[in-house]
Symmetry: C2
Subunit: 244 residues, 2 copies
DNA sequence: CGCCGAATTGATCTTCCTCAACATTGGTGG
DNA sequence: CCACCAATGTTGAGGAAGATCAATTCGGCG
């Protein structure tokens, strides 16, 4: 486990993340409980439980999900480096969803009981917490449009472009290629489609020369056509975003 | 337009809303820009625009939605008395969704530029803003599960129970009956179903003696069976919730 | 080599959509 | 008060997207 000096945090070197002054960095370092590393497949947070921790993803991919009675599950969203998970339970008391590790994960650990001090002493960070929640809401809104209004082909294309852009923003994708730790089953669980159908749709996307998925990698073959198909627009480059 | 003394706000007399101390109430009264009333059908906030206002719904029903290329729209969520709309744009800068009035609406108006002062001087209220965002996220999560995993019958049942419970929490529903300003088309747009299909599903629900929808009113005929069908659980009674 | 999870393919079935007609309702102006 | 109109709701027939069930096949990996 490394030291707690957030000034050394490799994430903060990314231009996309907002720099914060020494007072804030010192405060974060103080309330940071350490770093942990968990294996792929680990359940970090569990629906129904009350977690005392929240985490910033330092490296790796995680996913938020909810189970259904019949053993199925819906993937709600993904978490990439820089994203914060567990805020909902810190604010509302109980987890209404689970968070799992898609890959080996490095996490920065915070304690729920320190959240209040953020609000009393660090308005900029408090605002950042609201920002995180609002951003999650935006993504969920878009997902809802996708699940409610799009065809299967559009849903898959939309999800892939979305993940691609988020990954690229934190330096995980090059121009048209991305390593993603997702199975076709995962795509299906995120989109409300069966793995069988996902497989057939991916074939169509490849045949049409839009996107190629092989094993654990996406390749965007014709970005413009894909965007048109999925009614997707590349998000404006964020100025900077907060990080905890 | 009434005066700005939030101590007189009829909403705050509901037991469900958290009381706040005089300092906070005075502050809210100060940043409150007044009350407005808009007719049913009015678009309060519009996708793509940058709004300078956020609103607390004092009375009436509103809905958040996003349009699609082909003229369709997805309803993302509804807003009832006590709910806050426009927070996303206050935090992120631009509206990524629209908000419309389902009924005549009374709104309490706030200015986006006063939000920062909430964070610097009123940690309790700042926390409340994060709470609002986190609660919206919870609802969206549940909606995603519904759209992704449930059958049409389950989706409709789930939505009706959800709306019923939210309305009841603010005193708008009696034991099994609720006046709702929704057309079958609205239900379809919230669930990603056509109005034709919604109509048929509602018929089935009535035939099975679960829920009866006539004109603008829902009647829950067999709550237990409906909950079982939709995999829905009545939310624990909230202690109190914030209000702005 | 052999095993296991994931991917792939085919055949069939269900849910929901589309298109189209018609009925009902509530509101508005004569 | 009635006649008309537009919006909403209702019903039918046929089609398409996606689910289900069931085999294979592929790709690492011990």
């Amino acid at each position: 486990m490394r030291g707690n000096d957030c000034g050394l945090c490799p994430l903060r070197s990314h231009a996309i993340f907002r720099t914060c002054d020494s007072r804030e960095r010192e405060f974060i370092s103080r309330i940071k409980k350490g770093e942990i590393e968990v294996a792929a497949g680990t359940q970090i947070l569990t629906e129904g439980e009350q977690s005392n921790h929240l985490y910033t993803v330092l490296s790796g991919w995680a996913f938020r999900h909810k189970g259904t009675e019949d053993g199925g599950m819906q993937i709600l969203n993904f978490a990439l480096p820089g994203d914060l998970v567990g805020l909902q339970s810190a604010v509302m008391g109980k987890m209404e969803h689970s968070v799992g590790a898609l890959t080996k994960l490095k996490l920065c650990v915070f304690d729920r009981r320190d959240v209040w001090e953020i609000y009393t002493n660090h308005p900029t960070l408090a605002f950042a917490l609201t920002w995180f929640a609002a951003r999650e809401e935006q993504i969920l809104d878009q997902n809802l449009v996708s699940l409610g209004q799009y065809t299967g082909l559009q849903k898959i294309t939309h999800l892939i472009l979305h993940l691609f852009d988020r990954a690229k923003a934190v330096g995980l994708a090059d121009n048209d290629h991305l390593q993603v730790p997702l199975t076709q089953q995962h795509l299906g669980q995120a989109l409300g489609l069966t793995n069988v159908h996902v497989n057939r749709l991916l074939r169509i996307l490849a045949e049409r020369g839009l996107i190629e998925v092989r094993g654990n990698s996406f390749r965007i073959l014709d970005r413009a056509a894909a965007e048109r198909l999925a009614n997707y627009e590349e998000p404006a480059k964020e100025m900077t975003r907060p990080i905890l």
